[in-house]
């Protein structure tokens, strides 16, 4: 199921001195099954945009279409519960939302609210805990005695328990150490391969290049570009305007290319693939 924005604007606190237009005329299609990054400065409208996907915010003008749900400006949307089950949102620092006595109960909270039967929930929890990279021994532990990265996995498991088709993630790697962050990204890649649409708000350009199919660049509440990460990172004038630097591997590859080494930039997604491309260009055998 795809998500379509049609001429969406959103204004915070309209008709007050604090009025602020966060989104301006957004027209976008987010295709089903893709791994999509949303990038842009603090204040460019990234979080406001994604909160429209499960109707936490509704447009001031225009409409948002998620599968067969259509959310128009100014009408009270119906069937929100179903929509929010389809599009699961993981906020920044989701570990702050944990509250139950055990990991099991915490993951159960969502499906229980959706009135699923206990046996189904139980089976689901046992498979989800493994999916997020923890084992069953965690289920009876208190979420509060876990490490930061583990807590975040539990919070994500709680969203996955509602079996969303779309998973929206707002800076899910913030504050994690390099290993924790890359394991988190691998988890999202796994979920994407299982068919879920992943929408990732992030400041980490390395991950955008390495994992995403597509990047949407926001600037002052408008879409500045929607393209493959490789394309976004080769648009020098856009990068400059956004003061974004391309990931090191791509930046370095361009330097090599300029100095005369023939490299296929479209194959480069991380340092490892850059090294492969260099070896190939130099004629070094595997």
């Amino acid at each position: 199921m795809s998500v379509i924005f049609k001429a969406v604007t959103y204004t915070y606190l309209p008709k007050t001195p604090y009025e602020h237009q966060a989104l301006r005329d957004i027209n976008l299609t987010l295709d089903q099954g893709k791994f999509i990054a949303i990038i842009g400065h603090t204040g460019s409208g990234k979080s406001t945009l994604v909160q429209h996907i499960n109707a936490l915010l509704t447009p001031s003008t225009g409409e948002v279409q998620v599968d067969d749900f259509v959310i128009h400006a100014n009408d009270k949307p119906k069937g929100l519960k179903k929509l929010r089950k389809k599009a699961g949102m993981v906020f920044q620092f989701p570990e702050y939302q944990l509250f139950e006595e055990t990991v099991y109960k915490d993951i159960m909270f969502g499906p229980k609210n959706f009135k699923e039967d206990t046996k189904t929930i139980d089976e689901k929890i046992h498979s989800i805990i493994q999916l997020v990279g923890l084992d069953e021994s965690f289920l009876e532990r208190s979420p509060f005695e876990l490490s930061g990265g583990q807590k975040r996995r539990v919070a994500i498991a709680g969203i996955l328990a509602m079996e969303p088709d779309i998973l929206i993630l707002d800076e899910p790697t913030a504050g994690l150490d390099p290993r924790g962050a890359s394991e988190m990204m691998q988890l999202f890649q796994r979920l994407n391969r299982l068919g879920k649409t992943i929408i990732l708000v992030t400041h980490e350009m390395d991950y955008v290049l390495q994992y995403c199919d597509e990047a949407i660049v926001l600037k002052d509440g408008q879409v500045a570009k929607q393209a493959s990460p490789a394309e976004v990172f080769s648009d020098e004038s856009l990068l400059q305007a956004m003061s974004i630097e391309a990931p090191d591997c791509l930046r370095f590859a361009k330097k090599l290319q300029k100095a005369g080494l023939s490299l296929d930039l479209s194959l480069i997604r991380n340092t490892e693939s850059l090294a492969e491309a260099i070896l190939q260009a130099k004629g070094v055998q595997r």
Partner: protein, 271 residues
């Protein structure tokens, strides 16, 4: 030799039986730019809180510029040490940038006549003079951190600790704060700058890197020395900068680029 910070057998646990800082012996040189690198839970932020007397050690001692930390000296030590925290929104107090920088000075009972000059001086040093009358909510993350830095510097500390000060910022904000750290070292050569992070790019420019793991020092040395131990760093959940990583992969495949910087690598690879 007097160190900026020296700890002896420092121990601390948040809960019994689970030690966070484990017989730690740290020596940080005065006037150095030292990066403390470590995975989540390695004890690095706890170390900063211990140095500031925000937590009390279970055992061991902390000396800051030769003065032993104790209930009697804690305020004297806090006058010497400033800290910039992770989340810029959690440390803003004033309604404007000017008020925010003034907050610390007011607490130190700096006379009004002097205060304005000091505020202007430090706002200038972090490039925020034009924003002095702005509200914090109108600033970007990087700008907020710069104001926080000005507020800390205005107290004329000898030591400034950045505790994950770039981790919540967007790429531009990160770059702003990293540049600011380098700028500080040039502007205040006698200032000791300590940056606590797991961002290896911050660590590249340090005089010295101290790697924490499980509440102990795992390694200590120059960036070159530390980043040449890639597999060990990866094993303790850290990483190495791009240049080192590429060099080591190519090295294993027979292209030797030992000690080359980026420009030299381009030359060698395009030969």
């Amino acid at each position: 030799m007097t160190y900026a910070i020296e700890t002896k057998d420092l121990c601390f646990s948040y809960e019994p039986g689970k030690i966070t800082v484990d017989h730690l012996n740290v020596k940080i040189k005065q006037g150095s730019y030292t990066v403390i690198l470590g995975r989540n839970g390695s004890g690095k932020s706890t170390f900063a809180k211990l140095v500031l007397g925000l937590l009390s050690p279970e055992s061991g001692s902390i000396h800051v510029e030769g003065i032993e930390l104790s209930p009697e000296t804690v305020y004297e030590i806090r006058n010497k040490v400033g800290i910039v925290f992770q989340n810029p929104d959690n440390q803003f107090i004033g309604a404007t940038v000017r008020d925010d920088i003034a907050f610390g000075l007011e607490n130190h009972m700096v006379p009004r006549e002097k205060m304005d000059g000091i505020i202007e001086e430090y706002a200038e040093k972090v490039g925020m003079v034009k924003a002095l009358d702005k509200e914090p909510s109108h600033l970007s993350g990087g700008q907020k951190q710069r104001v926080a830095i000005a507020g800390v510097l205005a107290m004329s500390p000898n030591i400034v600790i950045f505790d994950e000060a770039t981790s919540m910022l967007d790429p531009k904000g990160k770059r702003d704060v990293k540049e600011m750290m380098n700028h500080l070292r040039k502007t205040f050569p006698s200032l000791t700058v300590i940056s606590i992070t797991h961002d290896v790019d911050v660590a590249r420019f340090a005089d010295e890197i101290i790697v924490f793991n499980k509440g102990k020092i795992y390694a200590q040395g120059t960036p070159e020395e530390i980043f040449s131990r890639e597999s060990e760093l990866v094993a303790i959940h850290l990483d190495v900068p791009f240049c080192h990583k590429l060099r080591s992969i190519l090295d294993k495949r027979g292209i030797s680029l030992s000690d080359c910087d980026e420009e030299e690598m381009v030359k060698v690879l395009c030969r």
